[in-house]
């Protein structure tokens, strides 16, 4: 059993975990602020839930069943509990890779296997000063009519993340294409995709709040659809397309 606290999206979160893995994962986000926003605790049934969920999803996708070590499954359970609470604080989890350049961030999102990681790497190679805020599961926070993207230690297989909060300028939906081109899309087009990529709580209050937060994105972020291949030019096309729009 391990007890510690972290800061995510400006919130102080107390964690009591069964294994040390969660503590090690969160090492760059540890804090000792006196007051907690909330506290979470995992139990063996949370770990079982993650394993069963993983098996269900593998079956649905026709993939071989994967059995994972309990310490790893506990890290998933902890983030699930955190994500379930975050809408109370105008913050929610969205699947995607958030990359920042200077003082603004861009979120790339897409169905699994489309090439988010590849496109992220191209940005790191091609765009001076680019860095990853979170490569897989960033938190988005709405504050004073603006959206910010927040680093978290839960950042996928590549484990690319940084403990920063950066204003979010645009969200880009990736699609594979033979040639590289980008187009701005309306919020109406983006809304179902945004919901699909947002963490869905089973709790109706939290889900209603998440939907309201997604709706608010329409007023403070721009949306793009990118068709891209794996050539370095793809990063330059998306960077210029999103940076140059007024």
């Amino acid at each position: 059993m391990r007890e510690f606290q972290i800061t995510l999206a400006g919130r102080q979160i107390g964690i009591r975990s069964l294994y040390d893995e969660v503590f090690h994962l969160c090492r760059d986000y540890l804090s000792d602020a006196p007051e907690l926003s909330f506290r979470i605790e995992t139990a063996p049934e949370d770990i079982r839930f993650e394993q069963e969920k993983s098996l269900r999803e593998a079956a649905l996708e026709g993939k071989p069943a994967g059995f994972y070590p309990e310490p790893y499954l506990e890290t998933l359970a902890v983030y699930r509990k955190i994500a379930a609470r975050m809408p109370e604080y105008d913050t929610w989890l969205m699947h995607g890779s958030a990359v920042a350049v200077g003082d603004e961030a861009f979120l790339f999102t897409a169905a699994s296997g489309t090439g988010k990681t590849t496109h992220t790497r191209l940005w790191l190679e091609q765009i001076p000063g680019a860095y990853v805020v979170n490569g897989d599961k960033p938190l988005l926070r709405l504050r004073n009519g603006f959206c910010e993207v927040c680093g978290t230690p839960w950042s996928g297989k590549e484990n690319m993340n940084r403990n920063v909060i950066v204003p979010l300028r645009a969200i880009c939906f990736l699609n594979r294409g033979a040639e590289n081109r980008i187009e701005e899309i309306s919020f109406r087009e983006a809304a179902p995709l945004l919901l699909q990529q947002s963490y869905r709580s089973n709790d109706s209050f939290a889900m209603q709040k998440t939907m309201a937060l997604v709706k608010s994105l329409g007023d403070c972020v721009r949306f793009y659809r990118l068709f891209c291949n794996m050539e370095p030019e793809a990063a330059l096309v998306s960077w210029k397309g999103m940076r140059n729009s007024a």
Binding site: F187, R188, A191, Q196, N202, S204, M207, M211, A212, G218
Partner: protein
């Protein structure tokens, strides 16, 4: 008839989105996109009801609309819910 799940519904730029919530919501990974009338029907289906009862309520809410059009809209939406396995028949 009744919905298999409870739904959270939100209007977004003129279109209504519905996402399942509750204990077994995870077994339906999709979402529903619909117009305002369908969103009203969805709301009526949160409680156990019948197609006739829903039709009657819609006629009361839209007295200026053609009765046949209301029936067709209702049938189309109920069929969509049945196809997607979201409606429990009586």
């Amino acid at each position: 008839m009744k919905l298999r799940y409870e739904f959270s519904v939100m209007e977004m730029d003129g279109e209504y989105m519905a996402v399942p919530v509750g204990e077994n919501a995870g077994s339906f990974n999709g979402m529903l996109r619909m117009n305002e009338v369908s969103a009203e029907i969805l709301d009526l289906l949160m409680e156990d009801t019948t197609p006739e009862a829903v039709h009657r309520i819609l006629r009361e809410r839209y007295p200026d609309s053609d009765d046949r059009e209301i029936g067709e809209a209702l049938t189309a939406f109920l069929n969509q819910l049945i196809r997607e396995g979201l409606l429990i028949a009586p």
